[in-house]
């Protein structure tokens, strides 16, 4: 009986999830864009095997779009589409990894500071203040230069360590206001421990905020990662949108010819389109966690 009831509620929940995201065309477009990027990240090397797709071809330098190369070719005669598709995996991996790091550290620091209060809170918040006050990108440049890291793990760590401060402070202030609410008082009255209250009572109430921050952090981390490669600070990985931009700016002579338009614009559009996809679904995400925001018609 209970099992049946819970399955039924799960079914209705997933169908209302689908309804939320399919209710507005803009969210469908957003989901489609994100699906496209996931597809590129997972199946990229299958569609364009790097060993054949990234071979220079001096006969095809800066060609316009054609059936064989829908986005034209670059300064070495390599298909721009292949470069974009193959770049997706590395870019997304670092973006998602760094966002995950930021959310875990930010939420942990915010929860601990907000809940324990006193000296722990003061110390954690002073440290957070320093990380917020330091201009983030210059700090990242300094750390990146010192570490000279090319492994995705280190880049994730670097991006995460320089960015978690804002979220930690926001989470702390949410905890401070939530813990005075009646339902938290009730949980305390039931004799639940501090850890249980923090993780099972307070945290679920902040999930929509955390989830949105996760998505926004992905784009932020991707911007920074691509930016570091654009400036030539982190050692090059063979195919990445940032490397394309760096080469367009420095070695490819792309800024001296109009023929390079697809090569220059493609990585920029790849970044903008991903940002658009994430922005388009944010509204839906808000409704998933905040039933009060749903249109009455969609909630029955």
């Amino acid at each position: 009986m209970i099992l049946a009831a819970s399955t039924a509620s799960r079914q209705s929940r997933s169908s209302s999830l689908a309804r939320i995201f399919l209710s507005r065309p803009i969210r469908v477009i957003g989901l489609a864009i994100i699906a496209l990027y996931l597809f590129m990240a997972i199946f990229g090397p299958v569609i364009f095997p790097p060993s054949t797709a990234l071979v220079a071809n001096p006969a095809k330098v800066y060609q316009g779009p054609s059936w064989a190369d829908p986005l034209g070719t670059d300064f070495q005669g390599v298909s721009v589409l292949a470069e974009i598709v193959l770049g997706a995996r590395g870019v997304l991996m670092v973006g998602v990894g760094a966002a995950f790091f930021i959310v875990v550290v930010g939420v942990a620091v915010g929860l601990i500071a907000g809940f324990t209060g006193g000296i722990v809170d003061a110390i954690l918040m002073r440290i957070t203040d320093v990380f917020i006050a330091i201009p983030q990108f210059p700090l990242l440049l300094l750390v990146a230069t010192i570490l000279n890291a090319s492994s995705p793990g280190l880049i994730i760590l670097m991006l995460g360590l320089t960015t978690w401060g804002g979220l930690a402070r926001a989470i702390r202030s949410q905890v401070l206001s939530l813990r005075e609410r009646d339902f938290v008082e009730a949980a305390r009255g039931l004799g639940l421990g501090t850890g249980t209250i923090a993780l099972r009572v307070i945290l679920p109430n902040m999930l929509s905020y955390v989830a949105m921050n996760f998505l926004v952090s992905i784009t932020g981390a991707i911007y920074a990662e691509v930016g570091l490669l654009f400036l030539g600070v982190t050692p090059f990985t063979p195919d990445n949108w940032g490397v394309m931009l760096h080469e367009a700016d420095s070695v490819a002579g792309a800024l001296y010819t109009r023929k390079s338009v697809f090569y220059v614009i493609s990585p920029l559009m790849a970044i903008l389109l991903l940002q658009a996809g994430i922005i388009f679904i944010l509204g839906g995400l808000d409704e998933v966690f905040n039933p009060r925001l749903r249109k009455t018609g969609a909630t029955q």
């Binding site: 201009p135 210059p138 700090l139 300094l142 990146a144 010192i146 911007y223 970044i271």
Partner: protein, 325 residues
């Protein structure tokens, strides 16, 4: 009393930044100072001479204890000695930074002001037309442009308006036919060269202002005094005046915080347009591993942002009496 305390905290934060930078550069794997010292030894330079060279470059003796190095480093910083550049053969860091700062300050302050007013205008307009097609479209556009990195906007402007349509000059901040100084051709040339970089700043920042103005204005619209304004029969102009004044207040702290963001963006914009400002200096010293210059730029930037935060905090309670704690 509060002023003194907040100022003390700001100084403490600057000291923390100084300390973190010092230990980051000196204690991390691949310590550049030890690297340079060892590579000099490998090249067959006698250790005494290698030590002296390192001292000229980094202002420390590699064989001193870290603590001594640290005390010397702080002592020198307090005397405005940021060391000497490695790439710009032996030029002291501080004058190098001060020479490039004006261009950045000019571009950033113009860019921030224009984007602020565009954002204010669009944000109020969206708040007044809430839940219309205008709100839907403009809010999405502003969200997409919110936080878009400046290399994207910079590159698009650079490519479209110097390569595709050669309307604007490319490179540097003034043409090579004018002589710097207070003369008309120079100022005109600077203005002409500044159009694209400023446009890149504005497009990178207006989305953020639009979104924060919108949320502030929506909150104000729900306030009692705006309802009272209507009942009292104030003209729409007067109501708008009240709305804008009260929506601007919360933006003020954001305005100062965005300075740090803007300087981060300056790295990209100046690198893209090759403008000899602070951002370009940072980008160049980073790619050439010119540690003293990097460190100097970073310290000055961070200190400036921390002090700006302090000033904003102080001014804010002046502007908005409700905030006085």
């Amino acid at each position: 009393m509060r002023v003194v305390r907040r100022f003390g905290v700001s100084l403490l934060m600057i000291w923390m930044v100084m300390t973190i930078t010092f230990f980051m550069i000196r204690l991390m794997p691949g310590n550049p100072i030890m690297d340079a010292y060892l590579s000099l030894l490998q090249q067959g330079v006698p250790s005494q001479e290698a030590m002296a060279q390192i001292h000229v470059l980094y202002d420390v003796y590699p064989n001193q204890s870290v603590l001594t190095q640290y005390v010397l480093y702080v002592w020198h910083l307090l005397h405005g000695n940021f060391g000497t550049s490695i790439v710009y053969a032996g030029r002291p860091v501080l004058p190098l930074i001060l020479a490039s700062a004006p261009w950045t300050l000019m571009l950033v302050s113009i860019g921030i002001t224009i984007s602020f007013f565009i954002g204010l205008f669009l944000g109020v307009l969206i708040a007044l037309n809430r839940n219309t097609w205008f709100d839907n479209v403009m809010s999405q556009i502003a969200s997409i442009f919110h936080g878009i990195p400046n290399y994207v906007t910079g590159f698009i402007f650079l490519y479209f308006f110097t390569v595709m349509l050669p309307w604007f000059p490319f490179g540097n901040i003034y043409g090579n036919t004018v002589t710097p100084g207070l003369n008309f051709p120079f100022i005109a040339s600077v203005a002409y060269h500044s159009v694209l970089p400023i446009a890149a700043y504005v497009f990178g920042a207006f989305g953020t202002w639009t979104l924060s103005t919108k949320s502030a204005a929506v909150a104000v619209l729900g306030d009692d005094f705006i309802q009272a304004d209507k009942i009292r029969g104030l003209t729409p102009g007067q109501q708008l005046d009240h709305l804008i004044h009260n929506s601007v207040l919360p933006l003020f702290t954001g305005f100062v915080l965005s300075l740090g963001m803007m300087f981060g963006g300056a790295v990209f914009i100046e690198e893209t347009f090759t403008i000899p400002g602070l951002g370009y200096l940072i980008a160049q010293s980073t790619s050439q591993r010119d540690y003293p210059v990097m460190q100097g730029c970073f310290l000055l930037l961070s200190s400036a942002v921390i002090l700006a935060n302090f000033l904003a905090d102080m001014l804010y309670s002046r502007i908005d009496p409700r905030i006085r704690v």
